[in-house]
Symmetry: D2
Subunit: 353 residues, 4 copies
Amino acid sequence: MSMTSGPPTPQDGEVGVAVIGAGYWGPNLVRNFLNCDRTWLWAVCDLDEQRARTVVGKRSSIEVTSRFEDLLADDRIEAVAIATPAATHLPLALAAIEAGKHILVEKPLALSAADARTIAEAAERAGLVAMCDHTFCYTPAVNRIRDEIAAGHLGRIQYVDSVRINLGLVQRDTDVFWDLLPHDLSILDSVLPAGTGPVAVSALGVDPIGAGKPCVGYVSLLLPDDAIAHVHVSWLSPVKIRNVVIGGSLRHLVWNDTDPTQRISTYERGVDIAEIEDEDEQRQLMFQYRTGDMHAPALTDAEALQSLVRDFATCIREGGTPRTDSWQGVRVLEVLEAVDRSRAADGVLVPVR
Amino acid sequence: MSMTSGPPTPQDGEVGVAVIGAGYWGPNLVRNFLNCDRTWLWAVCDLDEQRARTVVGKRSSIEVTSRFEDLLADDRIEAVAIATPAATHLPLALAAIEAGKHILVEKPLALSAADARTIAEAAERAGLVAMCDHTFCYTPAVNRIRDEIAAGHLGRIQYVDSVRINLGLVQRDTDVFWDLLPHDLSILDSVLPAGTGPVAVSALGVDPIGAGKPCVGYVSLLLPDDAIAHVHVSWLSPVKIRNVVIGGSLRHLVWNDTDPTQRISTYERGVDIAEIEDEDEQRQLMFQYRTGDMHAPALTDAEALQSLVRDFATCIREGGTPRTDSWQGVRVLEVLEAVDRSRAADGVLVPVR
Amino acid sequence: MSMTSGPPTPQDGEVGVAVIGAGYWGPNLVRNFLNCDRTWLWAVCDLDEQRARTVVGKRSSIEVTSRFEDLLADDRIEAVAIATPAATHLPLALAAIEAGKHILVEKPLALSAADARTIAEAAERAGLVAMCDHTFCYTPAVNRIRDEIAAGHLGRIQYVDSVRINLGLVQRDTDVFWDLLPHDLSILDSVLPAGTGPVAVSALGVDPIGAGKPCVGYVSLLLPDDAIAHVHVSWLSPVKIRNVVIGGSLRHLVWNDTDPTQRISTYERGVDIAEIEDEDEQRQLMFQYRTGDMHAPALTDAEALQSLVRDFATCIREGGTPRTDSWQGVRVLEVLEAVDRSRAADGVLVPVR
Amino acid sequence: MSMTSGPPTPQDGEVGVAVIGAGYWGPNLVRNFLNCDRTWLWAVCDLDEQRARTVVGKRSSIEVTSRFEDLLADDRIEAVAIATPAATHLPLALAAIEAGKHILVEKPLALSAADARTIAEAAERAGLVAMCDHTFCYTPAVNRIRDEIAAGHLGRIQYVDSVRINLGLVQRDTDVFWDLLPHDLSILDSVLPAGTGPVAVSALGVDPIGAGKPCVGYVSLLLPDDAIAHVHVSWLSPVKIRNVVIGGSLRHLVWNDTDPTQRISTYERGVDIAEIEDEDEQRQLMFQYRTGDMHAPALTDAEALQSLVRDFATCIREGGTPRTDSWQGVRVLEVLEAVDRSRAADGVLVPVR
């Protein structure tokens, strides 16, 4: 029969990539590299070659291997996405950089801020793109939030309250902070003006089910200028909530990520201020807030990971810094380490870094 | 390098399939045939070969062709999925059956009940599986509804009210009834006891935007025993609603398909009945309904099209009738034709068939 | 002890009123007349004097009586609110008008449009305010809808879809149409431009529980210029829905009355129109709608019945026509009668009046 | 005219009561004493007599006064409800007790736990009923929660997470903790088994708008047996949330008080536990939670304050301890004081009492 199969070779300009790690996240990377017109996925690598084969699926001509070194030696592969357990990120990332590969690393970038900095600096010295896969930062919702803040629509940011809870796996090699908090920390890092990130942290973790590690956590992050961010994370909530409220001096913004019809809402802020005299004849300001009109912009349904993968490829080809570069990965880890220190001291406020 | 690519040949027992039509629905079929461990997708066919190539995507070894005949002549291909415009379903299906291929046809099965019956009969004579792609019938929600009704939990079905509205494309070659109503009709056909389908229809279509065809429709379907089903379909609703209420003599069931956390709810039915004497000394029954407790079963997130594709492959290998066989396609078209007749007569009740 | 009780006499300008009927609605009237600074409630009348006493409650100095004639003879009483069974509205209203009292009558104004017209004309001749208690027309939501339409924000009204369903009492002396439809008909009458009300009606009622009267109803109302309104009413729905969608050529408006935080939403309407050439070389317009931005105005929580009572008192003192005057009651009944005629003829379209 | 007004005297057994304070809460007390068949409201007292008159409303024969002493001297008045500013609770309550009146005091019972204990002890010595108006404890939702916990349906309580936020008045004489937290503390006190209340507290308050006092607060309450309760209170949230999640070893319970159709939901808890061997050959338990079926009981719409008022009257007549007695008021204040101490120490964990 005269049927023809797909083209065997990358198009002009496509970045040759490989995925390391065929676990939970690997299939998403594979799908998005395949759907991206700027990348050409050569291979998937996993210690368990059969798992890699399952991830590429039937009818695929993507190569599979259990040998990481083969990828590094392959000149067609310009970049690798590392989606392996966090403990392996440092050695894999450094080896890839040494082999001249650009890297995209699953969060957390490493097991410590120091290790993350080692990766970031190595990539910088080698002139390679090093990116941390903070996927949420590429959602249309976060794009919108950043734009609203940058345009000054919310005014001065006064507080952020995030709830990120659901019923999930009590993971073996991480706790609820290290599992869920990087999402909020990277989002904050992406939307807040540079230099206004957390300066001190108070954290309390709880293990009500006897899992041997915190499964529910509450984190207060002091921001400059008396602003605050608070994050509630949980693996034990029967209902899934992904809700972020950003209170600004002009408007409030609510991001309810589980409501696809109305993810972002901004509320006008009706404030009545009155100067009154109190019983001791002191003059006081009284604030009375009213809920104002609400506006919910129509957002596109673009897949965040696709935008991230494009940003990665574009920065490799055209230069530039990806939105979630490895330095963001470092900053996220600096806060995570402060969380650990605060927890160890019964929730006392500790400075970041 | 020593990397190996995927296995080039189907596993034992996998059904060799091809997809005809690389339009809106084709990519979903391709993806699900690839993910199914009982099918092996050989080829995708479209008059526009480039479109077929786009659908199979990069790095795929699936063959693409613009020649339908090649598929029919290929012995490796045992079954074809037809996802082309409805006007082509009859000739393509008959040709496929003549070539000994099992068929899975996108809804509506054909342009008329008579044509659909021709297809169903031809397949039956040839001993081939002929299935209509009424995907919704394979959702966990519809599974649950059918089970609840079959187990008698709802009691006698008294009424069904369905709202299927959203903002969508005003399609060129179909109206809102033929586009959306098949979903409700096939679902009803799947969940109601055999032989209790619509016997008469009253339909009203509206074209408030001057599109030249109904964009909003209201359909009343009389069921046996004074029961009724009503369906509201629209291409013009700013909010997307997929809501079905089934009123039974014992319980109500609500299916809200846009609420992933609680798709199915059943409500106990508190009824107080009192025999009273009215002003003319007639004895009357008074009914006072109360809302009772609600129960929302946890449903799996299984993809319906995957279950459908498995059912197709299983019936081909092991025999049996798929849930949405071509005779269901015929029944759906019989009601659609009654809708057209009622609309032509200003909404008068017309019998089905 | 020196404690003093409330003032025994009305203030300047307060309208002296009485309430007839201490059933379901009476207590709401009593409460709102008491809270209104333009009315002074003298008495409550019910055939069952004890019921009247219960409605005024403990510690009240409101007089109670079982004799309607006493109210009519009492010069302090300038206006009466009639909240008795519908069959008594005509004689009570006419007697009140004859006694020179302004009237506020619970919906429906009478048992027929002819009777309603008799009331409206009698009041007009006597120069008295005659009002029908279509409370919904005074809600902040309906105010907003009327303003949006009047300001042209929605553009030309293309369709209205209303769902008014809940689990309720199957009433003895009325059916679901006469019980619930007056709400929608009066709202439409209030928000649509004058003269653009229903011109023809198709209605289907169902009695799935053997109650001897329709408990579920579907009504299509043809409006001028190919517009349509559809109303679904039910006493048998396990979930309470009060949802009205108004589709305009410029914007959609959604009124979800069970969501107190966001009752009114207006949606920008993204439309892409393309002129294409079809297979037969005919030129056709293609419409592709997109959901646009959404805006939800902050509404006050004002109680509708309070606004209605104020309007009544204001029209009595200062002249003017209340928003829901008796002629609106007539128009509502004209449509209800068309509903009955259509139902009697199996849902055929019948003209209004 | 022969009309008669309401009965001027209390019925047998009705408790004669008076309300002190005609501010925000007073009207609710007046309405509920009037609607209760076990109480007879004689008088309302406020320093501003006109305000008291406004609260009793038109046509009322309730007496009004500005002199608290008159109430105390009035033998018909057996009980007083005190709804004045918190700073006046102690002297008013003690004076009422000394005059032999039963008392119902608005929350907080006093400005300190010590003062509250003084009140509770004085009432106890005098053999009078002393109740704190923790209204929420009488809602059908809290009744249900207490019953579910007492019946063991939830298993061991592992954590409680409460969010009580809205846009509200920034009050002059209190902060967000003292304003909102008593609700959660009294609810916890009502539903948790006796003796399992908070033992230590960590609190963080924020003043992002420069109001001079905390407007947003986060409180962690350590409970016995490694359980925890966390409460988020805010006056600055654009959306109103009243959500409490109670995680038990058997089931989760969610109380969403802003959803009148489904206030209480209980979730079965699917847990898969596997014993695995980790990389270091240690045996570990793995927990994988799944969301199970959900059950939402039908709750009545009974007004909580009505039940509270009945409980007050019943305890006065028949003896017994009201659910929210003054000792509960003491316990709530003990925790509030711990909150203040923790806040003063930057959120460090402090013991209760």
